[in-house]
């Protein structure tokens, strides 16, 4: 699989290489979201905020400071995780929907700042033409960068899911009261999960900068975050690899349906309703179930 993916840039036209790189970005973001929603049962409604923080941090450090480029790129995920920590501290004290609402208002706060602080963030125009190191400046370079980051992140996330921490997180999702009763510090685990997930969201934000060479406030807008939600749903909440499929399907549909009709959101909406009615397990979840690849229902 990896060999095939690694050889694709030599075989495909540049446009497709670019689309694949976009899929990598979205897949990484959707996977980090799913760690919280599918695996942890936390209503992270504004995941795009951390993606945006990662992207803006990298973009600002690359354009406004004279620090080495790699420092800017590395700073993105850490900035996102830091914001995740600060926001998470307040959010984990709240229940379910209130968690989501506090999160969405904090995220919207960040969006509003990115949108209005013209001097620093460029306001609604965003920042364009970000200078990148020559190694990753080309579309092929961005593709390989995405592939490597996605593979590494997948490995790390998989290890986290299989660790005692991952199992505890899942137990908290299924029955928080009982976990509390047997002495697990629920909020600590949730906070930790938020920090990890926002770190990966930050990586995908930096990757966005690498692929697109620009940032704009829409990344932090709540509608975008809900679209990432759809990616997880489409792939399957309770599967590990589902979000990757969801991201791939949404990005390719947007790219190819978007060229035929301006009513792309209508099609997305209809698709979502069909999913909710007929495939609540998601495409990947459904396939796993049909193929019998899943011996026991690992995620719920």
């Amino acid at each position: 699989m990896l060999v095939i993916l690694a050889s694709l840039p030599t075989l495909l036209p540049r446009f497709y290489v670019y689309i694949l790189a976009v899929i990598f970005v979205m897949a990484l973001l959707a996977m980090s979201l799913n760690m919280l929603v599918g695996h942890g049962g936390l209503f992270q409604f504004h995941h795009g905020a951390f993606y945006g923080v990662g992207a803006y941090t990298a973009a600002l450090m690359l354009t406004k400071t004279s620090l080495p480029a790699w420092m800017g790129l590395v700073a993105g995920p850490f900035a996102a995780a830091f914001v995740g920590l600060v926001i998470g501290v307040f959010c984990v004290r709240l229940n379910r929907l209130y968690f989501g609402m506090l999160q969405i208002s904090l995220g919207s706060l960040l969006w509003a700042i990115a949108f209005r602080w013209y001097n620093v963030t460029g306001g609604d125009d965003g920042i364009h033409g970000i200078p990148l190191p020559s190694l990753i400046a080309s579309s092929t370079g961005a593709y390989y960068c995405g592939l490597i980051l996605l593979t590494l992140s997948l490995l790390v996330l998989y290890l986290i899911y299989k660790s005692p921490f991952g199992a505890t997180l899942q137990a908290i999702r299924d029955n928080p009261e009982r976990c509390e009763a047997i002495g697990i510090h629920v909020r600590h685990h949730q906070l930790m999960a938020i920090v990890i997930a926002t770190f990966f969201a930050g990586i995908s934000g930096v990757l966005f900068v690498v692929v697109e060479g620009s940032v704009f406030p829409d990344l932090l807008f709540w509608v975008f975050s809900l679209e990432v939600f759809i990616m997880c749903l489409l792939g399957g909440w309770f599967t590990f690899a589902g979000p990757i499929f969801g991201a791939a399907i949404i990005v390719s549909l947007r790219t190819f349906v978007g060229t035929y009709t301006e009513y792309w959101t209508l099609i997305l909406g209809i698709m979502l309703i069909l999913l909710i009615f007929f495939l609540p397990e998601g495409v990947w979840g459904y396939l796993l179930e049909k193929l019998g690849g899943r011996k026991h229902k690992e995620y719920r």
Binding site: V37, F43, F90, R93, L94, N95, R96, L97, Y98, M101, L102, I104, S105, L106, S108, L109, A112, I113, F115, R116, W222, V223, L226, F229, I230, L233, E262, Y263, T265, L266, L268, G269, I270, L272, I273, I276, F277, P280
Partner: protein, 298 residues
């Protein structure tokens, strides 16, 4: 110094009034959302789309009747019913099969409705800016606090409390309202004593959407009616019902007042960052009181 000179007592007073009339629009919209949240337990993301449809329907109806005062009043009365019809169709054909699902699915379902309705509005009315005129009687302004205040906004200040009283009477004094409140607390029990909960839900949902449509119709003479109205209002509406206490009508009122007034003062004090204030308030209030200011039914 320049800033301080613009802040005079009359300026504060007139901004307060503008904020209050904005709060009344927000209240009409969010009271409907709060009703749906309270009775059906559904965070309805499509609520803003129904508000937008209400505004566009008001535009079409008032143009159908020549754009005069008659057209305006008919638009105000009829467009909420247009929205109610749309919501009834959506509820009976799709929504009513999903009540047993978890909140997240319901939320995503209403998000799908928002995406669909947004594009349908674009198909029917196009992407242009539209506007309608209030009748002669409401045009112009009166002088309050030594500053001009639009007459139409005075009308809004009357309508908001009327809606609040009407909703209170409905939920406390009528049989359907009492059943709806009971269903909000324990829907199995209400079903067990022989009441068709499904229709109670449908009624509550349609009434909530009716209020969204009413809000859209009421706001239509004061703003330009355009695609994207749904995005503009829905986040505010959600935050308002959250800080008020999910599903609490008076909470929606309190939240709307806070939002409306700080928005208008925000424009006065810090124009560039006025949009930041509502979010900041929600953050502070939720950290202080994790389930909203008033009692939440969730």
């Amino acid at each position: 110094m320049e800033l301080l000179q613009t802040i005079t007592l009359p300026a504060l007073g007139s901004h307060l009034l503008v904020g209050l009339s904005r709060a009344m629009i927000l209240f009409v919209v969010t009271s409907g959302m709060s009703l749906v949240l309270g009775v059906l337990r559904v965070p309805n993301v499509a609520h803003g789309s129904l508000y937008m449809i209400g505004a566009f329907a008001a535009f079409s109806i008032s143009h159908l009747f020549g754009g005069g005062p008659l057209g305006f009043w008919l638009a105000l009365i009829l467009s909420p019913f247009v929205v109610a019809a749309v919501s009834l169709i959506a509820e009976r054909s799709l929504f009513c099969h999903l009540y047993e699902r978890e909140h997240l699915m319901l939320l995503l379902f209403t998000f799908a409705l928002m995406l669909i309705l947004g594009d349908l509005v674009k198909m029917v009315w196009g992407a242009d800016y539209r506007s309608i005129m209030a009748p002669e009687f409401f045009r112009g302004s009166v002088t309050l606090f030594e500053a001009p205040f639009p007459r139409y906004n005075l009308f809004l200040l009357v309508v908001g409390p009327l809606v609040a009283v009407g909703l209170w009477l409905f939920s406390n004094k009528t049989r359907v309202g009492k059943i709806a409140r009971a269903a909000a607390v324990d829907r199995e029990m209400v079903g067990a004593i022989g009441i068709n909960v499904s229709w109670v839900f449908a009624f509550a949902f349609v009434l909530g959407c009716f209020l969204a449509g009413l809000g859209g119709a009421l706001v239509s003479p004061t703003v330009s009616i355009t695609i994207g109205m749904d995005h503009d209002i829905i986040m505010d509406a959600f935050l308002i019902v959250t800080i008020g206490g999910l599903g609490n009508m008076w909470g929606a009122m309190v939240g709307s007042l806070i939002f409306g007034i700080t928005q208008s003062f925000g424009v006065l004090f810090l124009p560039q960052f006025a949009i930041v204030f509502p979010y900041l308030e929600v953050v502070i209030i939720l950290i202080w009181r994790p389930t909203g200011l008033l009692k939440s039914v969730w």
